[in-house]
């Protein structure tokens, strides 16, 4: 067997390296979902996690996440400087993955890549389609702003997106 026979499969190539939190079922997932956690069969103790506890946790986490990724106000009591660092860290993580997925954009933007990505990602959560959708949206934003030339890329569905499509579509 040669090394050429051992290329990583499509799925692994597409999703890129490392701890990329991939492929969310997107906004609206909650609507058809058992949010408040009626305990399933054999989960008697699960009833302890009642709807109030889940609702409060959902509210708190959504408020914090909005502050971190969607330009929302910092919830009361948090260290705002720490949240700013977390926001930058999340954007840096997205930027790193997009840079690896789209070396062409990295080349086209050169030293402006980080600033351009920060401008794109500021207040804009990572799209539900994962890092490839993020890369595509970034490229579209650059085209729309006239920063790069070229035609919009075809929208290739990822296997994970296909798997979870029934939740979003």
């Amino acid at each position: 067997m040669t090394d050429l026979d051992r290329r990583p499969p499509e799925a692994a190539r597409e999703t890129g390296p490392g701890h990329d939190v991939v492929g969310a079922a997107g906004p609206g997932q909650g609507a058809g979902h058992d949010v408040v956690g009626a305990a399933g069969p054999g989960q008697g103790a699960g009833g302890a996690a009642g709807s109030d506890a889940r609702a409060e946790l959902a509210r708190a986490q959504a408020e914090l996440l909005a502050a971190l990724v969607a330009g929302g106000r910092a919830p009361e009591g948090f260290d705002e400087e720490r949240l700013r660092i977390q926001t930058s860290s999340l954007i840096a993580k997205r930027r790193g993955v997009v840079a690896r997925l789209r070396p062409d954009l990295l080349r086209a933007l050169g030293g402006d890549f980080a600033a351009e990505f920060a401008a794109y990602a500021d207040g804009r959560p990572k799209p539900s389609g994962g890092s490839r959708a993020d890369a595509r949206d970034f490229a579209e934003a650059l085209r729309a702003a006239g920063r790069i030339a070229g035609e919009p890329a075809p929208r290739a569905r990822r296997w994970w997106a296909r798997l979870t499509r029934r939740r979003t579509g």
């Binding site: 991939v22 906004p27 946790l57 959504a62 914090l64 990724v69």
Partner: protein, 286 residues
């Protein structure tokens, strides 16, 4: 017997041997370093990011490793078991299918939330450590356990901030989860170090509180300091301080496994080999 059939047969054999045996020292398998991982000496087990593989189309490299009897652990990053919603059945089914396809002795995930209010964080965020939240996460973990045929291990995360509502430490919260659900622990000593630097939470205090008898394995990784903040990037050499925490852990318990995470900016094979050797040295009890 064709090569594929031979691999299948060896996988089945190795599957039976993998359960209940110590894992040893390992490295995170990534597609970019697949051949390197195969070539490195003394790789006793590997981890694969579960969201990056299809159980029905496993990368050839993982099949080769399995044929050699190397355990492969699916490591999830997108479940968000610390979220407000019960874990997504599709994601759980994927983890279960990965475990089955790989003949994995367990599955690991994180004590974190990764989405809320229809938004994706893109990373692992700390859960508010309140008694109320613990009840929700206990329920989530039980649901995950019900969907998996192998044990689940949960990992402590690196945090850049704490919740003002926190009533307990992460170690106490994980201890509560272990007690209520029997979930296993994946202790990331680099994350303990990160929290020590960034939040002033002493790693040894966490080691004192964590129920280490339930330890499944350990993560070790490098990162870098930026503006007085430690970023756990998994892209650099493991600092001596992280290895010192590993040694502290090994003074308390003989860890079933210790795994190096390296996610990008990959160094030479020799460099990775030397990182694994440093880990082995740090594990030796005085």
């Amino acid at each position: 017997m064709g090569e594929r059939a031979a691999v299948e047969a060896a996988v089945t054999e190795a599957e039976e041997a993998a359960v209940d045996e110590p894992l040893g020292v390992g490295i995170g398998w990534r597609p970019e370093i697949d051949l390197t991982v195969e070539r490195l000496e003394g790789v006793d087990f590997v981890e694969v990011i579960a969201e990056n593989v299809r159980p029905d189309r496993l990368p050839e490299s993982l099949r080769v490793l399995r044929a050699r009897g190397v355990p492969v652990i699916p490591h999830g990053v997108g479940l968000g078991v610390g979220g407000a919603e019960p874990p997504d059945p599709d994601r759980l089914a994927h983890l279960a299918a990965c475990a089955q396809a790989l003949g994995a002795p367990l599955v690991s995930e994180h004590l974190a939330f990764v989405r809320a209010g229809g938004m994706e964080a893109g990373h692992l965020l700390p859960v508010p450590r309140t008694r109320e939240a613990l009840r929700v996460v206990v329920d989530n973990v039980r649901r995950a356990q019900d969907a998996l045929e192998v044990p689940l291990a949960l990992e402590n995360v690196a945090a850049l901030f704490g919740w003002p509502q926190d009533e307990m430490t992460e170690a106490e919260f994980l201890g509560g989860l272990v007690e209520a659900t029997g979930v296993k622990l994946l202790v990331d000593v680099a994350n303990l170090y990160t929290n020590e630097v960034n939040l002033g939470l002493r790693a040894v205090d966490a080691l004192d509180v964590l129920p280490l008898s339930e330890l499944a394995y350990v993560h070790v990784a490098g990162g870098h300091a930026h503006g007085g903040v430690w970023h756990d990037t998994h892209t650099d050499h493991v600092p001596d301080e992280v290895l010192a925490i590993l040694s502290e852990l090994c003074a308390r318990v003989d860890p079933p496994g210790v795994l190096l995470e390296w996610d990008a900016d990959y160094p030479s094979d020799e460099s990775l080999q030397s990182e694994l050797d440093r880990i082995r040295k740090a594990m030796v009890r005085d």
